[in-house]
Symmetry: C2
Subunit: 157 residues, 2 copies
């Protein structure tokens, strides 16, 4: 057996609290005390074990890294981070909604066109039998001797 570090991969729901504060802090490259402070400021809300120990989820860690990025790379303070996270959420929702609208509008157009084509076809179908086979024409019933009538079309309202 070599001394090589073994790596393994486990799967956990992204929202499930699994990391205690020391681990989460290490993953987010932050001081544990900083995480406690962020929680007090309402920037993050880790789950708690029955004993009261904070349990951070994968999502929490990602959020922490985003906060880290905003504070250290962009120089925002925490009030700014809070506001930016909120706005980004709104923007994302708006973007998703827009894509959905665009998709739906394209669908609708296709559907409408199909329906229009169907209408054309179906109305035309009511005429075609009278014109086909060759040699048939449409005439007004009142021009016909009553005895010879054979085909009727229902009247509409």
């Amino acid at each position: 057996m070599s001394m090589r570090r073994r790596t393994t991969r486990i799967t956990v729901e992204r929202g499930r609290g699994v990391f205690m504060i020391s681990v989460a802090a290490e993953l987010a490259e932050m001081h544990p005390q900083t995480l406690r402070m962020y929680e007090q400021r309402g920037l993050i809300e880790p789950k708690r074990s029955p004993k009261g120990t904070r349990l951070y989820s994968q999502e929490d860690v990602e959020r922490l890294r985003r906060i880290q990025e905003m504070t250290t790379e962009l120089g925002l303070n925490l009030a700014g981070v809070e506001r930016v996270l909120l706005l980004e959420e709104q923007l994302e929702r708006a973007t998703r909604r827009m894509e959905q609208l665009e998709r739906r509008s394209a669908e609708m157009r296709a559907e409408m066109e199909a329906e229009m084509e169907a209408v054309r076809r179906s109305l035309r179908a009511e005429i075609v039998p009278y014109m086909d086979p060759a040699g048939t024409d449409i005439v007004r019933a009142r021009d016909v001797t009553p005895a010879r009538r054979r085909i009727r079309v229902d009247r509409e309202g």
Copy 2:
């Protein structure tokens, strides 16, 4: 003549630089030095007179008040203000675009329906004369005595 202060109202383009720094600062309720600092930080860009004096527009003053609001009421630092202004712009653009999309989609639906109705009507028009006025029916031409035929419909390819 009374000593009462007279007020008057003038109209200026919103983007035109008209206020020198002391006036702009007073209007925005800020220290003039603060405005200079904001400019250095890239948060605002007043016009300049030929002599180099800063000239703030109505828009500039409004932007200053927005910045003021974010820093004093929400506690953002300037990096945060910068970021938030940017995001708000994006969000506004997205919102406007969405409204436009919705409007256009509604228009399109109405147009399509109208067109569909027109198609129905125009195709039906080829039949209607045979069904109206009351008491008329459609029959096959071959059931009619040749001499009594009166109306024909053109065949299509």
